[in-house]
């Protein structure tokens, strides 16, 4: 309990650390915060040209929204993924990258991975707000679903932070972890139906057996991406089973990450 109280007492530090990231990142750039939007836009352009124009991937038509635009369908899955990716790799580096601070000042160390989530989340909120506006311009009336979208954003943040905290501790012991994670995340993205629809996997499962789809859907990010598409692209209630998986993954992984981090927190300064 004292631990949680102390963590709560340091919330001003957390907001200052978040501010340091948010304000410091685009200092002395002409476009400032706009850069955080250019990046996903460029990614969207590349994937749309490659997969929609060249490979002719067809997204499913939004049901009941009726939206049928690959770029928008892509972004409903890509933006959550990019957030997840940045929180995990940023959280992983949050301890080794702040070694100097950890060795010189006492403060609840958990604020460091939390600050990564906070600053990345700030960017993500901007991206999602822009996406919501564009979705509404193109016929997907996402407005009533925004509270639910925010709730799932919070769940994904918990999931990503938990994973980031585990990897942060692992990286202190084994610096190999960061290089391994970079590769794993890259593969993970292609194992998640972000740039291609899950119907492709369902077709394959019809051919090779249902186990393929079962295994494929063990991927937590598949559930999250599916739910975000149901809410934003289709405009319908998320599937209950998917929701249960998302909640379970989020709280489970966060709790494990929290406990691991707490256990090693006092030793970090000596290990760095």
């Amino acid at each position: 309990m004292t631990y949680l109280r102390e963590l709560y007492a340091s919330r001003e530090l957390l907001s200052n650390l978040v501010m340091r990231e948010v304000k410091g990142k685009y200092r002395r750039t002409f476009f400032g915060q706009l850069w955080s939007l250019f990046n996903p836009l460029a990614t969207m352009l590349v994937y749309t040209v490659v997969f929609s124009v060249i490979f002719r991937a067809r997204p499913s038509v939004g049901d009941p929204s009726g939206t049928d635009i690959y770029a928008l369908w892509l972004m409903c899955g890509l933006l959550p993924w990019l957030f997840f990716n940045r929180v995990v790799s940023g959280g992983l580096a949050s301890i080794t990258g702040n070694a100097n601070l950890i060795k010189k000042v006492y403060f609840p160390r958990m604020n460091l991975p939390f600050a990564v989530t906070g600053s990345t989340g700030f960017t993500w909120l901007n991206e999602m707000a822009l996406l919501a506006v564009v979705l509404m311009l193109f016929g997907s009336f996402v407005l009533p679903w925004i509270p639910l979208v925010l709730a799932f954003m919070a769940l994904l943040a918990l999931f990503a932070t938990g994973l980031g905290m585990m990897l942060a501790v692992l990286t202190v012991f084994f610096r190999d972890a960061q290089h391994f994670t970079a590769i794993a995340l890259q593969m993970w993205m292609y194992l998640t139906p972000i740039i291609y629809p899950i119907t492709l996997v369902e077709d394959a499962a019809d051919k090779y057996g249902d186990w393929l789809l079962t295994v494929y859907r063990l991927n937590p990010m598949e559930r999250f991406v599916t739910v975000f598409r149901q809410l934003m692209y289709d405009n319908r209630w998320p599937d209950l089973i998917d929701t249960a998986w998302c909640v379970g993954w989020a709280f489970g992984v966060f709790a494990i990450g929290f406990l691991i981090f707490k256990r090693f927190e006092n030793r970090l300064a000596r290990l760095l």
């Binding site: 001003e12 530090l13 501010m19 304000k23 200092r27 100097n100 000042v105 006492y106 403060f107």
Partner: protein
């Protein structure tokens, strides 16, 4: 007659072991190759150190380089945790082991005051209240809205020190950082320590300057090779320590 106040800090039989591996320890390969065998030597950085720091005193730690002073200071500051023994503090502890830790180069001096202050444990309310005092004390008023990367090293250190000295803890833990800034700034710092003492606060410091130790501290502990050699009044500890240094020559 009232009983004396409880000690500010009780250091009780503290020991700390550094494990020195023959090879570098932080890659997966070395861990796998080493397997279950662990090839290491133990090095006792602190070995059963016990003493009490009276409330309201200024307490100095002396000893040769590598004697374990800074390790002890880090334990007092809760940055590292001893393997054995315990440290109990009565009151809020703040540490000044390095000035300007956590400064963000691209942010202005003013923004860094809030960032660094909150890292040191100050609330936004306190910082807003003390902002003018901090800026004035640092003497960088003219540049306070410039990014700190444009600061001279003196300005950088002075700003960092001004923030830290305004944390206002019950117990302040200070490493050899009193030698910052020019003579005028050092005089201001010394004045600040006097005020601190008058307010009944406790200061624990490491210093190699016997002059400033005798001048500022009333109590001192001498540490050598991780063991406590002597603890007592600053004058007697300094005399004994200096005698041993002269002998060593």
């Amino acid at each position: 007659m009232s009983s004396p106040p409880p000690p500010a800090v009780v250091v009780d039989n503290v020991s700390l072991r550094y494990r020195m591996y023959k090879e570098k320890n932080d890659s997966l390969k070395t861990a796998l190759l080493r397997g279950r065998r662990s090839v290491h030597e133990d090095f006792l950085a602190l070995d059963g150190v016990s003493f009490e720091v009276p409330t309201g005193s200024t307490f100095g730690l002396v000893g040769r380089n590598g004697a374990g002073k800074s390790t002890l200071l880090k334990c007092l500051a809760r940055i590292i945790y001893p393997d054995g023994g315990s440290i109990r503090a009565n009151g809020k502890v703040a540490s000044l082991l390095e000035v300007g830790s956590g400064f963000h180069q691209e942010l202005s001096g003013r923004e860094n005051i809030f960032l660094n202050g909150s890292i040191l444990g100050m609330s936004k309310k306190d910082l807003t209240r003390k902002l003018d005092e901090i800026i004035e004390f640092s003497g960088v008023e003219k540049f306070i809205d410039q990014p700190v990367k444009n600061y001279s090293s003196g300005m950088y250190v002075r700003l960092g020190f001004s923030i830290a000295i305004n944390v206002d803890p019950d117990i302040l833990v200070v490493d050899e950082i009193l030698a910052v800034g020019d003579a005028a700034f050092r005089a201001k710092c010394a004045q600040k320590f006097v005020e601190f003492k008058e307010a009944g606060k406790t200061v624990i410091m490491v210093t190699h300057s016997m002059g400033s130790l005798k001048e500022m501290c009333d109590q001192a502990a001498w540490i050598d090779q991780g063991r406590l050699v002597q603890v007592g009044s600053a004058d007697s500890v300094v005399a004994a320590y200096m005698a041993s240094v002269d002998e060593g020559k």
